[in-house]
């Protein structure tokens, strides 16, 4: 049955080459932990992506309850945490996933650095990777404000002060982030929400696509 559907679609769209590009390739011995246990360091990138997928899924479920408004943001998180079935688990996964994704991404960066895998011809993929790192830090920073609790507000105040100290454009960055020259409040919360769930994830997905296409095009770097 499934084969028939596949053949029906393939006859019209010729999808087999696409499938080959995605899945049909050889994995060399030096990255396979089944052959060399130390090759587990090559798992960090994949695990980063795994946590990223969990972040996207858990985040989608969180927005079913979360209200990006200073009156209700904290209350909606409190409700989600204490009243909603499995709300504590979903929020817990998003909370801990935010830390794990930074840890795994950091380890992945170190693996690529210490194996010298960023060298020619893979310079572009390294740059895209560093951009992904920056986007992830941005997601961490904007997500920290959203529960609208005490630590969120005051950490954001400090963060925006730091952004405002950039020479020449600091004030503009501050107004762009906070929505106002002096107040950290309702506008800031809605902007951080928009940045956290629309702008940065869109950028992240585009960068991840570029990252993966380049890996498939170039293959993984050879053994040392």
């Amino acid at each position: 049955m499934l084969n028939k559907i596949y053949d029906w679609v393939d006859e019209r769209l010729d999808i087999t080459p696409i499938w080959r590009d995605i899945a049909d390739h050889e994995v060399p011995e030096h990255v396979n932990p089944a052959h060399h246990f130390s090759a587990f360091v090559y798992c960090f990138g994949g695990l980063t992506f795994f946590v990223t997928v969990i972040q996207i899924l858990s985040g989608m479920f969180l927005t079913m309850y979360y209200v990006p408004d200073i009156e209700n943001a904290w209350k909606s998180v409190y409700y989600l945490q204490n009243e909603v079935a499995f709300g504590e688990i979903v929020r817990g996964m998003h909370h801990w996933g935010a830390s794990l994704v930074i840890v795994m991404m950091f380890l992945h960066t170190l693996r690529v650095f210490f194996t010298g895998s960023y060298k020619k011809p893979r310079e572009l993929n390294w740059i895209v990777g560093v951009l992904i790192f920056c986007v992830m830090l941005g997601l961490g920073f904007t997500g920290y404000l959203l529960p609208w609790d005490m630590k969120a507000l005051f950490a954001t105040k400090v963060g925006i002060q730091i952004a405002a100290s950039v020479p020449f454009i600091g004030e503009l960055i501050k107004i762009l982030l906070a929505g106002d020259a002096t107040i950290i409040g309702a506008q800031t919360l809605t902007r951080f929400f928009a940045i956290h769930v629309f702008f940065l994830p869109a950028g992240l997905l585009a960068l991840l696509a570029a990252h993966f296409i380049m890996i498939r095009r170039q293959g993984i770097s050879g053994p040392l």
Binding site: E26, Q81, K119, W126, G219
Partner: protein
Amino acid sequence: MHKGKGMKFVGDSRVQEKNNKSVYPPDYSEYPGKTEPFWPDFLLKEWMVGAVFLVGYLILTVAHPSPLEGQADPTNTGYIPMPDWYFLFLYQLLKYEYASGPYNTIGAIVVPAIAIGALMLAPFLDRGPERKPLKRPLPVAFMLLALASMVYLTWESVVNHDWAAAKKQGQIVKEVEIDQEDPGYKVYAKQSCINCHGDKLQGGAGPNLTNTGLSPDEIAKIAHEGKGGMPPGQYKGSDEDLQKLAKFISELKAE
């Protein structure tokens, strides 16, 4: 004769090379090893690694519920801010004399920009063909130095943070309904208590008086003798009124 699947690649990548004079490392086919198809053999192993990782992740989630502090109160001026742990090294850097105040640009912009810039440009700064860490001592040494600084700064930040105060300042305070007609509240308002502890006993100069967990006798004793920053002899009324006051305060509990 072409190598690999009859093609010549750029270095060890899958991009085909335009001329045949390769100066880059050889491709996979030159390493006699046990290559394995990605689908389905290797993917299954990746899923097993993912499953083990997920178990650890879920244990962390159920063992440590994600924290939620009290609702944001912009009027609170005493709150000591704390970023998430992965920004702690930056937070600590900004506490040092030559990275803060008039030198703020150094700590907030120059140092992070150099770090991110050097990381981003690593392939162009480290251009040699060598990949083994020991054969490119400078890039490796700089990375280890950066790592050590980050670990040190994070450590300094953690040991210098007052975790007990941080826990207390963020606690969720459940609002307790105050019956302003209660005879105890009338004594509270008439005496000087209200000046320091607030009209809803929410605290001010003195601490919050709801959910104290104290017995009426203990409260009466504090009213006479003071406690902490509260001087003795604050209560100047009859013993009968003090009974009402103490009973009123000791019964203020959130459900």
